[in-house]
Amino acid sequence: MKQSYFFNKKESYLSAVQVPARFRFYFTVAVPAMIILVTLGVLRIAGELPMLDYREADIHTAVVATLATLARLMIAYVLAIVVAIPLALLAEKSNAKRFLLPVYDIAQSIPILIFFPFIALAFVKLGFSEGAAIFILFIAMLWKLVFSIIFGLNSLPNEIKQTAQMYNITGVNYLTKILLPAIIPQLTIGSIFAFADGWNFVIVAEVLHAYIPNGVVANDLFGVGSTMVGAASAGNETLFVYSLIAVVSMVIVLNLSVWQRLLAYAERFKF
């Protein structure tokens, strides 16, 4: 008799739904490797950064800067997911839907970049420059995720909602066994768009000196965005091209190793 996953508390949700053989490499090698790379990037950000001379910097700088930016994007993405899921679940409640959806709609249509000078200054004054970039990336990603989750919740068939009601599947069981798995396909698509938006905002988010009165390059956050701007200003075309190649390569690797595989995996959560 096969043991059902509901009773095996040691298993994670992903292993619970029986990862097929073709995804095992992904979950056992690719994801840990990605986590290690991101951690390296985070360490690079957190470490004591030497003042970069963009006239001298080389391909090594471009690669590490791309990893640092990826780490920043990952932190913003995780924060955005953590906030987006409850916001979307709140809007799903019928009594809140009427006023929350228009509020979300207005919020997502406000161009956040116009506020960036204030946000950047505020974080710099607090002595937490990193927060400015993460915050702007977080906002850039948030609404894409919120609306994709709301769309996922709305596509839950009525039969499933009625079935849950009939069998008294409520609360945590309803959330973890039905709602969260049901949003995985839309959440995956939303994540791809959110990450794409994140890359778009990176240059603005890392070049903080542009928003600080009498700002200097030392005010910038180390990452591929600031490296590209620094390389262009210093006339180091080679570094600029290396940075460009590093970003494009990272986007392609992420797409092939994470998003495409997650999209294929999400198929099993579709009705």
Partner: protein, 232 residues
């Protein structure tokens, strides 16, 4: 008597007309009853009122709490195996984990689909999906089982096999079964009583007092089909 409707009306939206008009009927424990009618005749609204998915606007309803509806489609979770889909409905039961697994296997065996326990919904045929939905419903030991157009998407052979399984399950479990259908022949083949519905009302109540198994080529059978068709 297990279910009774007294002059029940239902309006979903003010000004949009009634979805159910002054409906009265009663169903005895252990009966196999069908509601037959065209799309939009009000059958589904009656079922939603019985399971408590919607509230009546007027009238009085007596219904048991433990009523389960088996839908025509989309009620299994695609990310759970067949066994897990059945166990899901037992999560709130105050019995041991081993007991839950045992019940799930027993119900699958009852519907002759135990070998499908590890399969996923997308790997099942329409008939197998319906069997899993019924097995899952039986796992919570319902007093009333409602079947919403259970055979409409099935081929003739599968339909015939499932008819036999449903009649067997009904007798063995002493269940009350309510079936929604627009297939009159199917209604006469399975039920003891039929309520014909048209224009949001019950237009006729027809007894079908034949012994099982029934023969669709029998003259009385054919007459009953005509009687129901006239009532619609």
């Amino acid at each position: 008597m297990i279910i009774e409707f007294k002059n029940v009306s239902k309006v979903f939206q003010e000004g949009a007309g009634d979805n159910l008009v002054d409906v009265s009927f009663s169903i005895e424990r252990g009966e196999f009853v069908s509601f037959v009618g065209a799309s939009g005749s009000g059958k589904t609204t009656v079922m939603e009122l019985i399971v408590g998915a919607t509230e009546k606007t007027k009238g009085e309803i007596i219904r048991p709490k433990n009523t389960i509806m088996v839908f025509q489609k989309d009620s299994l979770l695609p990310w759970l195996s067949v066994l897990e889909n059945v166990i899901l409905v037992l999560l709130n039961e105050k019995i041991s984990e081993a007991e839950k697994i045992k019940i799930a296997h027993e119900k699958l065996a009852l519907l002759q689909i135990e070998k499908l326990a590890d399969k996923y919904p997308h790997e099942l045929s329409g008939g197998q999906t319906q069997r899993v939905s019924i097995a899952r419903a039986l796992a919570v030991d319902p007093e009333v089982l409602i079947l919403d157009e259970p055979f409409s998407a099935l081929d003739e052979k599968t339909k015939e096999e499932l008819h036999k399984d449903i009649l067997k399950t009904w007798k063995e479990h002493d269940l009350t079964i309510i079936m929604i259908s627009h297939q009159i022949e199917e209604v006469v083949l399975l039920s003891q009583r039929a309520f014909a519905m048209s224009a949001k009302k019950i237009s006729a109540e027809i007894e079908i007092p034949f012994a099982y198994p029934r023969n669709a080529e029998d003259e009385m059978f054919m007459k009953k089909i005509v009687e129901i068709r006239r009532a619609l």
